[in-house]
């Protein structure tokens, strides 16, 4: 964080306007907001073409699926492991915008495009896959060069001590967010979440996506060994996308709880007002 007050040697106080996010962070954040959203929704449409997930090298209708979304007797059904759940109205059986009942895994409001088209979903998914790969690579190079990754994102040894992590977990649960100078830096849970997404989830999504390509399989067969087969890669890809959705929901919740206007401004202009210290 290039905090002007800190650079001039004076510690920032609650109420100060500090510079929180670099332009590269802000730009990548908003590119991602569009890219991840589009990829999740077009991905659900691709899943709709074969709403079953398997482990191993192969898997088709007659093989054992560990997850399946379908319909039975007019009811929507989600089957995970051996358990079946009724999901009528949301998964498997739902009504489209015109009130017509459809039998597809994910409903119209969750997919791109909203009416069934595997070909169109693939066109959207693979265009934004390029955006994701190129923008993530550019961000990582920039963040290594300007030391954003080392200084702001990677946890320090002391922060990883169980006592410190536990205190941060408790503070989050009590909705007690840092104030004053402490709010200028990321907390350990924030660091773990952001590093987990940037260096864990996004690379895993890209690699498991490539493992589903028969062309890439031929050139880089080690990908098949790494993930245990093409169908395992497809399952991991789906689970990572689900984890990404959970991250986004928690992220949005935290923005709402910690002052949405201030956070949104910081991510647009870079300027963040440090919350005032509580009166003692």
């Amino acid at each position: 964080m290039t905090d002007e007050a800190q650079e001039s040697g004076v510690a920032p106080h609650g109420g100060d306007l500090v510079r929180r996010h670099r332009v590269s962070t802000r730009l990548w954040h908003w590119i991602n907001a569009v890219t991840i959203f589009t990829m999740l929704m077009s991905g659900l449409m691709i899943f709709n073409a074969h709403p079953r997930l398997y482990w191993g090298q192969y898997g088709a209708n007659s093989d054992r699926a560990w997850l399946q979304i379908g319909s039975s007797g007019g009811r929507g059904v989600l089957v995970v492991g051996g358990e079946a759940y009724d999901t009528t109205g949301v998964l498997g059986v739902w009504k489209d915008r015109d009130g017509i009942e459809r039998r597809r895994a994910f409903p119209w409001w969750a997919t791109i495009p909203s009416s069934y088209s595997l070909a169109d979903a693939r066109i959207w998914h693979f265009f934004f896959a390029w955006v994701l790969v190129l923008s993530a690579a550019a961000y990582l190079v920039a963040s290594l060069l300007n030391r954003h990754l080392q200084r702001d994102l990677l946890p320090r040894g002391a922060e990883l001590r169980p006592g410190h992590v536990w205190r941060d977990v408790r503070d989050h649960l009590r909705l007690r967010f840092p104030r004053g100078a402490a709010a200028a830096r990321y907390g350990i849970l924030q660091k773990l979440a952001y590093v987990g997404v940037i260096l864990g989830l996004i690379p895993l999504l890209i690699l498991t996506g490539l493992t589903m390509s028969p062309g890439v399989n031929a050139a880089w067969p080690w990908l098949l060994d790494l993930f245990g087969g093409r169908q395992s890669a497809r399952s991991i890809h789906f689970l990572c996308a689900a984890a990404m959705l959970v991250f986004i929901l928690v992220h949005l919740l935290m923005v709402l709880l910690s002052g949405p206007f201030n956070q949104l401004r910081a991510m647009i202009t870079g300027a963040y007002r440090l919350p005032r210290e509580k009166d003692r």
Binding site: H50, Q57, A60, W130, L210, N217, F261
Partner: protein
């Protein structure tokens, strides 16, 4: 501050409205589509740039075979012509190789089976997402192309098939990099048996490293051409022409 807040609010509302009401309109806009579809060419060039273009698809062992190799798309071509061939055990079925070749070929199934063969256990990936592993036996396509003598102007092969869909005859096309690949065969056997009708009897293309819809079934004619534009709607295949599937199905 208030004005900025208002601006952000209306931008968010605008984006939300655009997403909910305009998604299908954006999806249908030809300018948007052409930008989005440009990624296909990028994917093809990138794959061929950073990977070995002769790399072999993984071959598996007998223990890895799918218990059941499912059939998809056309499960049996409609019409008396195909029915007659099926009843005669495809004795009179002929594969024609023509177009930009020096010596057009017309081969019977007996002649094709007598050619040097290649057997490979490979994974078939449907564009829908499922995979099946099967053992394929057939004549390397390179062998037929060498027999026919491809002209230097030939750049693509078009596979004309016996099955029909709502909009027209099934056809597919590949370029010469895939055509001369050692695992590209015209298969007449699956799992040690004659090719079943559901999987493309008597003859189908196996073009490993591509998705399932490129592996044309019921192949009866291979035409060498300079450009794909003169056939169908010019995009190189039935699914490409009528449903906007990618011609390069490397992913």
């Amino acid at each position: 501050m208030i004005s900025r807040r208002k601006l952000i609010g209306s931008l968010a509302a605008g984006a939300g409205g655009l997403i909910l009401s305009g998604c299908n309109r954006i999806n249908a806009d030809p300018r948007v589509r052409s930008v989005l579809q440009s990624a296909e060419g990028l994917t093809m060039r990138a794959q061929r740039l950073i990977t070995d273009r002769t790399a072999l698809a993984r071959e598996f062992g007998a223990a890895d075979l799918s218990p059941l190799f499912r059939s998809n798309g056309t499960r049996k071509p409609v019409g008396t012509a195909y029915e007659t061939h099926l009843r005669a055990g495809f004795a009179d079925w002929r594969l024609v190789v023509d177009g930009l070749v020096a010596r057009p070929l017309s081969l019977s199934m007996a002649q094709l089976r007598a050619l040097p063969r290649r057997t490979q256990i490979t994974r078939h990936d449907c564009v829908e997402g499922w995979s099946a592993i099967g053992q394929w036996t057939g004549a390397p396509l390179k062998l037929l192309l060498d027999m026919a003598g491809l002209r230097t102007s030939a750049r693509y092969l078009i596979f004309h098939c016996a099955d029909r869909y709502a909009q027209g005859d099934y056809y597919e096309s590949i370029d010469l990099i895939d055509a001369f690949h050692p695992q590209t065969i015209l298969a007449w056997g699956l799992n040690g048996q004659p090719l079943p009708v559901g999987n493309g009897a008597p003859l189908r293309l196996r073009v490993e490293r591509q998705l399932g819809y490129k592996h044309a079934k019921y192949v009866q004619r291979i035409e060498a051409v300079e450009s794909l534009s003169a056939h169908g709607r010019g995009k190189g295949g039935y699914w490409e022409d009528y449903y906007d599937y990618a011609w390069y199905a490397g992913i």
